[in-house]
Amino acid sequence: MAAYLVRRLLLTIPVLLGVATLVFALIHLVPGDPAQAMLGEGASQEEVQRLRTSLGLDRPLLAQYTGFLGGLVRGDLGTSFRYNTPVTQQITSRLGNTAKLALAAMLVAILFAVPLGIIAAVFRGRAPDHAAMTLALAGISMPNFWLGPLLAILFAVYLGWLPVSGTGSLAHLVLPAVTLGAALSAILARMTRASLLEELRELYVLAARARGLSGARAVLRHAFRNSLIPVVTIIGLQFGAVLTGTIITETIFAWPGLGRLLIQAINFRDYPLVQGCILFIAVTYVVMNLLTDLTYGLLDPRIRYE
């Protein structure tokens, strides 16, 4: 396992370096002068020059690049142009809210998808299966920027049960979490169904039934537990989709997280903050994928000996 761990960690380094390089290149893709773009057309030449100096844009490209990488190692992502505070401070202040939303969404997805997948597999080819899978397909096809407003219309406007935006209570979390969790839920339900169907074909399930176990017990105690490995992997791999999903969900429900911070930074042309948010989300994604791979390697020995 140690060799697998080291190999997997070593493979991650060039990917992280590539991600950092791409994020560094972003500010240089701004058409014209980034400092001018940030300050607007009305800014004086001195103001533009001052900002160029503070962003380090007046230094040679290689010096900028090594400075950027050095900053990353020290956890320094620069200073936000809008807030005039360190980018890391802005990110950490919003991180808790995004983590709360992402975890709640994953919980909603699991609570909804697993029973749906089990019902579909057990009743394969019959009405409950068709109903569950149609629901799952609808969940995949329904973009969250439409589902969110629809849920808000139903539960906030017509029924008045839940608040339409903001934070503060658990009730505020319900609509954003369901909106964000719906697509993952649909994918998980399909995966649970497929994985459970595979297991139900196995002889040990038949043996359990032959020993007199009820159908429900054979499914839940034996087949379901074994079908969980691919489902757990999908949850890990889908974390990236959940993470990018927060950008839209937080915008819909005015949820003060990292995604909303990114969109606000874009609208304000706060490029250091944009770079910081993008880098943070991408690195979190890479690390989550790494953890998923390592967990998978731990669960299934065949993978680490490949």
Partner: protein, 265 residues
């Protein structure tokens, strides 16, 4: 069955995009401010938006944008992906290493994050949306084609062509790429759904097509301010997106079942 249902939905959307705007008695930009936010009626089946524009006509015009962006992104991404994927898979070695590392890095960005980043710095416009979505889009095709090209170079007919003295470009173009086409077509059909959702997401966030050009994403964004007083602004553009995406997903899934007999259960 899936192919037929999907094909029907897509054909309907194409017909709406082609003929809808010219058949409609209204112009997508003409405002009737006195009747703004008016609900559905016989005269305006989907109602009027926040500036009193006919929503049905704007949905038909928005279909043009969605399909156009989808087609452009899928064409650019699939061509670039086929080129880099076949080169990496066929030649292997250093070339493959470099292309594969670039693919790894681009795949390290989740979903449309990189597209958001690119549009954020390049500025919001239709062309930049296509460019940004293609930059992330080609990677999936390249991976797919690379794997198949790797396999195809061992096929006997490819080795025979090599033995007969055919050059590498000819072998890749005439022998390797055709074997990858069925999978690429399936991926492209599913890619249309992805590109349409991505374009709408970017427009929803204010990073895509800019008003007054009608786009389904910007229509949904405008509807957000009127959830309480005019929910029809949100409902109809959303139905349009979900249906078209469902259509392409059905078509893609159905085609995949036909191309890969193992998928038929």
């Amino acid at each position: 069955m899936m192919v037929k249902v999907g094909g029907f939905i897509v054909a309907l959307a194409v017909a709406l995009a082609l003929f809808g705007p010219s058949l409609s008695p209204y112009d997508p930009s003409t405002q009737e401010l006195a009747r703004r936010l008016e609900g559905p009626s016989l005269q305006h089946p989907f109602g009027l938006d926040e500036l009193g524009r006919d929503i049905l006509t704007r949905i038909a015009s928005g279909a043009r944008i969605s399909l156009l962006v989808g087609l452009a992104v899928v064409s650019v991404s699939s061509l670039a992906g086929m080129f880099f994927g076949s080169v990496a898979g066929y030649f292997g070695g250093r070339v493959d290493d470099v292309i594969s590392r670039v693919i790894d890095v681009l795949m390290a960005f989740p979903g449309i994050l990189l597209a958001i980043a690119l549009v954020a710095v390049l500025g919001p416009s239709l062309v930049n949306v296509v460019l940004a979505l293609s930059v992330i889009g080609w990677v999936g095709y390249a991976r797919l084609v690379r794997g198949q090209a790797l396999r195809a170079r061992e096929f006997e007919f490819v080795q025979a062509a090599r033995a007969l003295g055919a050059g590498s470009p000819r072998i890749v173009l005439r022998h390797v790429l055709p074997t990858t086409l069925p999978s690429v077509v399936v991926q492209a059909t599913l890619g249309m759904a992805g590109a349409i959702i991505a374009e709408a997401s970017l427009s929803f966030l204010g990073l895509g097509v800019q008003p007054p050009t009608p786009s389904w994403g910007t229509m949904l964004d405008a509807g957000r301010a009127h959830l309480f007083d005019a929910p029809h602004l949100t409902v109809f553009p959303g139905v349009a997106i979900a249906l078209l995406v469902l259509g392409f997903n059905f078509l893609g899934d159905g085609l995949r079942d036909r191309v890969d007999p193992k998928m038929q259960r």
